[in-house]
């Protein structure tokens, strides 16, 4: 707790610098990462991040120790080289992109590890801090580092904001962009350049092994919360900043602990929350949507079944035993209970407690049942008339469509069919104006009834 207060009181100027640096990094990586994942280039980012290691090592060798400018130069050069290599391979060979990405990632990283071992064993150069570039060490950043890496992040962020409109277009519809004469190739190159730069900016704080996740995870989390690219960028930037803060904090309180993994863990935590809780898209919301839909379908099917029983014997005042309903619809006992109580609550059916006991449609229930049977039969008629589908094939499809057909679509169906009287099975289509209850649907053809499975069709 004490360390927490000490850290966030920002008394120590170095904490302020490092915090500013990692927040800037998180913000720019998060924002740029949105374009990376939307253009399905996330893995390329991972390959570039790993491929930067030999550049870092060479920078150590040439500078004889740690020098931020040399580091950026080396990292940038190798990042770009790896990107060009991947592009070259997929352009000029039959090797699929995923294979070329994997190849470049491992070959460059392997080379980096060789150089790293070489430096460590020969002891020519001052190797202090070299290990930090694998998994990151935010706290190891000092004055110059922060200025250089933070400045780079800020620059990337500013460029991203300026070219936002163009990046949006090129990411969404490159061939349209090309058709209006946009310099698509150059924009794509700029995007690649920004990606290499942001990865370069992250090597000290996050490290080469995990840097790609700072591009990917905040953006992936942000996608759950919004349908607007602008908002997605803002949220991803926020998640990135949060991970930056966590990473720096851990770095200070547990100096032996690498920062990168902690940044990733905190970003992943936000992703996990988004995955579960996001309204509409989150798993919990989807579970409830699904359950609601299956409940509704079950309710509607029971209404239909009651209606079809009325159609069969022409009696609207005969109680229908719950057992028979359940048998016809193949529902579990508990689902049946829920469905019936929901229908009772909405006053679509009533319960008759005499002997035999059972259920009856109310007039509101019959109206709804009629609507369902109507859209079912209209849909069957539509399929067989407009799409020439054989009449014994249309029932299954209508069984699922009837729950989805809106009144708007129903009106269109009626328009295009001219409100037909009969469906392909020669059953009457019950309209609202139809006063006879039940409308004696099976009057035309009793023999076909038996073939149909469950419910009115």
């Amino acid at each position: 707790m004490e360390t927490l207060i000490e850290f966030f009181s920002l008394q120590d100027p170095n904490i302020r610098y490092v915090l500013a640096g990692t927040i800037l990094l998180g913000v720019s990586a998060g924002a740029l990462g949105c374009f990376a994942i939307l253009r399905r280039r996330a893995l390329v980012g991972d390959a570039v991040a790993h491929a930067i290691l030999p550049g870092v090592c060479l920078a150590f060798i040439f500078a004889g120790g740690k020098d931020p400018f040399m580091l950026i130069l080396g990292a940038f050069f190798f990042g770009l080289l790896s990107m060009v290599t991947m592009d070259f391979i997929s352009r000029n060979s039959r090797i699929a992109p995923d294979a070329s990405i994997g190849m470049v990632l491992s070959v460059f990283f392997g080379l980096g590890v060789v150089l790293l071992t070489f430096i460590q064993t020969t002891g020519y150069v001052d190797q202090s801090g070299l290990d930090d570039f694998l998994f990151g060490q935010a706290a190891a950043m000092v004055g110059d580092d922060v200025l250089v890496f933070g400045g780079l992040s800020a620059l990337i962020l500013i460029v991203t904001i300026i070219v936002f409109k163009e990046l949006k277009l090129v990411s969404f519809d490159p061939s349209f962009a090309q058709s209006i004469g946009y310099p698509v190739k150059r924009m794509e190159f700029l995007l690649a350049l920004l990606m290499v730069l942001v990865i370069t900016a992250g090597i000290q704080a996050v490290g080469v092994v995990l840097m790609a996740s700072m591009l990917i995870i905040p953006a992936a989390a942000a996608r759950y919360w919004t349908d607007s690219l602008r908002v997605m960028l803002l949220i991803a930037a926020g998640v990135g900043a949060l991970s930056g803060v966590t990473g720096s904090f851990i770095s200070y309180t547990a100096p032996a602990m690498p920062t990168g993994p902690w940044m990733v863990v905190s970003a992943a935590f936000v992703f996990f929350l988004s995955f579960l809780l996001a309204p509409g898209r989150g798993e919990i919301a989807r579970y409830f949507q699904k359950r609601k839909l299956s409940r509704r379908v079950a309710c509607e099917n029971i209404l239909k079944t009651l209606y079809s029983m009325e159609e069969e014997d022409g009696k609207t005042d005969r109680v229908r035993p719950g057992k028979e309903l359940r048998k016809r619809r193949h529902l579990t006992r508990s689902m049946m209970k829920k469905v019936l109580s929901s229908l009772l609550r909405r006053k679509l059916i009533t319960y008759y407690g005499g002997t035999p006991d059972g259920y009856l449609l109310t007039s509101a229930g019959r109206k709804e049942a009629k609507r369902l049977v109507r859209v079912h039969r209209l849909w069957e008629q539509y399929l067989s008339q407009h799409l020439q589908i054989a009449e014994d094939h249309v029932h299954e499809d209508a069984e699922s469509m009837e729950h989805l057909i809106t009144s708007e679509i129903e009106a269109q169906l009626r328009d295009s069919l001219g409100s037909p009287e009969l469906d392909p099975h020669k059953s009457r289509i019950p309209y609202e104006t139809d006063e006879s209850d039940p409308p004696g649907g099976a009057a035309e053809d009793h023999s076909k009834k038996g073939k149909r499975k469950g419910g009115a069709s």
Binding site: F172, D173, F176, S179, S228, L229, M232
Partner: protein
Amino acid sequence: MNNDTAQKSKKTTFMNTSDRTSTPPIEVHDLTVAYDQKPVLWDIDFELPDGSLTAIVGPNGAGKSTLIKAAMGLIPASSGYTLIYGKPLDKQRQLVAYVPQRESVDWNFPISVMDVVLMGRYPHLRLFQRPRRADREIAMSVLAEMGMDAYHSRQISQLSGGQQQRVFLARALAQDASIYLLDEPLAGVDAATEEVIFNKMKELRDVNRTVVVVHHDLQSVPGNFDRAMLLNLRMIACGPVEEAFTDENLQKTYGGRLNILSQMVEESRHQRFVRESDN
């Protein structure tokens, strides 16, 4: 700007439609396209007049989409070039609106209908310039023309196929171009959308725009289009519907394939017959 002079030149051509020497809005010369050495389009030549509505038809794999993509310079051509009002395409891109196939983009992309249509205004904006209020107004009015104004704030994944196509067409309208190249705008759309799109295409033709449509439904060519381009790796015919869209030309365009197809049908019938008689 560039646009204005071209608009003027278009008006002049309009006034002299009988004048044979006037520059056509679009000319394609000697266009040949090959994928991996395998030619998919052979030496295509055509020009189209102002105020025309042309259907490009041909069997699957005939190179219809390839033709308009290559004519727009979106895919590399082995040879050939496109002139727009007599000048190279790259100087005249503002005059051409291209509508890609609906499937060519990711409809889960996080942008709204309005955002997509505003992209049609980008040719009228400088690089890095944000859309102005006037651009938004234009976007709204073209959305209204396509009957999609109520959907302007929807995310694009919430649209039906027909609505997506209308949005794409609205984007092209927002470009306010002279030439419209549409790649399969009627593929998989509902009847209402088909009507809206047909009406809009005819309307554009009637205000002297040049409209070229990759089309898959042969039956709707006569009566809706005034020109037809029959394509099967090479140009079979190009001209007014009554001259180009003849049984003979259709036979040349589809003939071989139809034969193979009918052979396949025969073959499958035969096999089923054999299998049934085995039982």
